[in-house]
């Protein structure tokens, strides 16, 4: 990892997004203390964190595989941190039961981790991390193993939990939808570097490089020659598929190469001669068929110029 210069604000829901092997998980593990930096500096609430072992950091982690202790039941898993700190039995069971209620999982305390479903394990892992009242909660791809429905439900619950607790959440994911829908700010990682940091809107609307434009949502990358023809500037640009619309006059002429119906929207692959574009159109009565010639247009503001050619 190199050139990772990040600042996370207190109480923020911060996402670290990137393809696998991009360094986002390593970055999280540096904050948790599982790995030590070979160079560079980490501060947590103004205190130097290099060389501080994980058990002395008031930071808790929800692991990707949940890492629940198989020899303990649910309540003992949740109460583990309290037990380590020497809390009495009555107190730690009471606090752990509260934490289980917080994650909407009351009454399962006596079960073993192995008897729970994936979604329930996820909640236990969350309760176990939160029971220690951390100032920062780290989540390593926490929803990766869940199916789509459950994932959407947990996304909402995590957001609610974040609002309710007011602590900092740092969240690692490779799923751009997850990052955009949940985070206050997103850091995009690629090949061990942070390539862009910003709010989901900034990242989506104004990607600063071809990598970002391509990774976050799908995007049409317009080569400099084409951009020069429409805006006069010799730069790469990104054009979101949903910004393209059909028109009866003006704009550009294109032929439809492929068409896939997605329910509410229809995705078209278009050939403009010099380049191919994807367009995402609302599914209306007349959907152009492959081979048909259409005219397309877009708002010039939607062509986002990028400084970075990478």
């Amino acid at each position: 990892m190199d050139e990772v210069d990040l600042e996370v604000f207190e109480g923020e829901f911060f996402a670290m997004l990137g393809p696998s092997g991009s360094g986002k998980t390593t970055c999280l593990r540096l904050v948790a203390g599982f790995e030590q930096p070979t160079s560079g500096h980490i501060e947590i609430f103004g205190q130097t964190a290099e060389g501080v072992p994980p058990f002395r950091r008031n930071v808790n982690t929800v692991f990707q595989d949940y890492a629940l202790f198989p020899h303990l039941n649910v309540i003992d898993n949740v109460a583990y941190g309290l037990m380590i700190r020497g809390a009495g039995k009555a107190e730690r069971y009471r606090t752990a039961a509260e934490a289980l209620e917080l994650v909407a999982l009351p009454g399962l305390g006596k079960r073993r981790a192995g008897e729970l479903s994936g979604g329930q394990r996820q909640r236990v892992a969350l309760a176990r991390a939160l029971v220690n009242k951390p100032r920062v909660l780290l989540l390593d791809e926490p929803l990766g193993a869940l199916d789509l429905k459950l994932r959407e439900q947990m996304q909402e619950e995590l957001k609610n939990l974040h609002r309710q607790l007011g602590i900092t959440f740092i969240f690692v994911t490779h799923d751009q939808n997850e990052a955009l829908s949940m985070a206050d700010r997103v850091a995009l990682f690629n090949q061990g570097k942070v390539v862009q940091v910003g709010t989901p809107q900034e990242i989506y609307r104004c990607p600063n490089s071809r990598f970002v434009a391509d990774f976050v949502g799908s995007s049409n990358l317009l080569p400099p020659e084409f951009v020069a023809g429409i805006s006069g500037q010799n730069k790469w640009a990104s054009l979101r598929p949903e910004a393209i619309r059909l028109t009866s006059a003006g704009g550009h002429e294109a032929s439809v190469v492929a068409c896939s119906y997605l329910g509410g929207t229809t995705r078209l692959a278009l050939d403009l001669g010099s380049l191919r574009l994807h367009a995402l159109l609302p599914s209306v009565a007349t959907i152009p068929q492959p081979g048909q010639r259409v005219r397309i247009d877009w708002n010039p503001d939607d062509v986002h110029l990028m400084e970075d050619g990478i």
């Binding site: 072992p53 595989d65 583990y80 380590i84 991390a129």
Partner: protein, 315 residues
Amino acid sequence: MNSPVGVISPGRQGILRRLADTLWRRPRLLLLLMLALPVSWLGVIYLGSLVALLVQSFFSIDEFSGLINYEFTLKTYRELLIPANLDIIVRTVSMAAVVTLAAVVVAFPIAYYAARYARGKWKAAFYIGVMLPLWSSYLVKIYAWKLVLAREGILNWLFDKLHLTWLLDAYLSLPLIGGNSLSVSYTGTFLVFLYVWLPFMILPLQASLERVPASLLEASADLGASAPQTFRHVVLPLSLPGVIAGSIFTFSLTLGDYIIPQIIGSSRLFIGQAVYTHQGTAGNIPLAAAFAVVPIVIMGVYLWMAKRAGAFDAL
């Protein structure tokens, strides 16, 4: 157009092929055929002979004629509980317990290193290092230890060179664990038992430690546990099945062995030696059988207690 026969190939000819098709259709029959031989081996020859031995323990020996009286009696068991025989049992069980405990202590760091850190050729070196002693003759190793531990042996020589003979002498003058030299003391017997059975503790322990995911150790540290706390609350409970598996070996092997205490140690008997002498020279098969029941009962109680204590909960 495809011909209509193209999808399913015609039934095969020949007895073997038809048999193969039949077995494919009846997987239970196949399972039965495959298990018949090993199960009958285990059931009849292995367990059957054991039962025959146990039945012997309920017979008795006629003291005057030396003949076996084939009538059900508990007389032999009463004989087992006379002080001299009870001494043998207590001595053997204590030795087995101490050997097992020491084996856990010695094996743990080795197994932990192998499971957590050793990779590639270091892992191969670990396996060879642990198994190599098992490939050489057990008797050779015991006699080698006798040479090491004898009064004229290497250890004495080493202590002498280090001017520490007084330390060794002080140790040997201790009651119970001391003796004339290490090779005729319980300490000697203990050391050789520990050496010979150690691989049987290391391997299951390493296997159980290997199944503990690294993320559990990180989770424990994340939740505030220092390394010793993580060991106590996560590593040890999760490796307990391996400890139990290893201790079954070290414990029962020590309970049954009759060669090591005969060559190295005080001349006092262990269970294995008692079985050996009673069924050989003395011809008292019932008492030998009764002695042989002791380790079985002890292991049964031990496993029951381990289960009660939750040692297998993580399995």
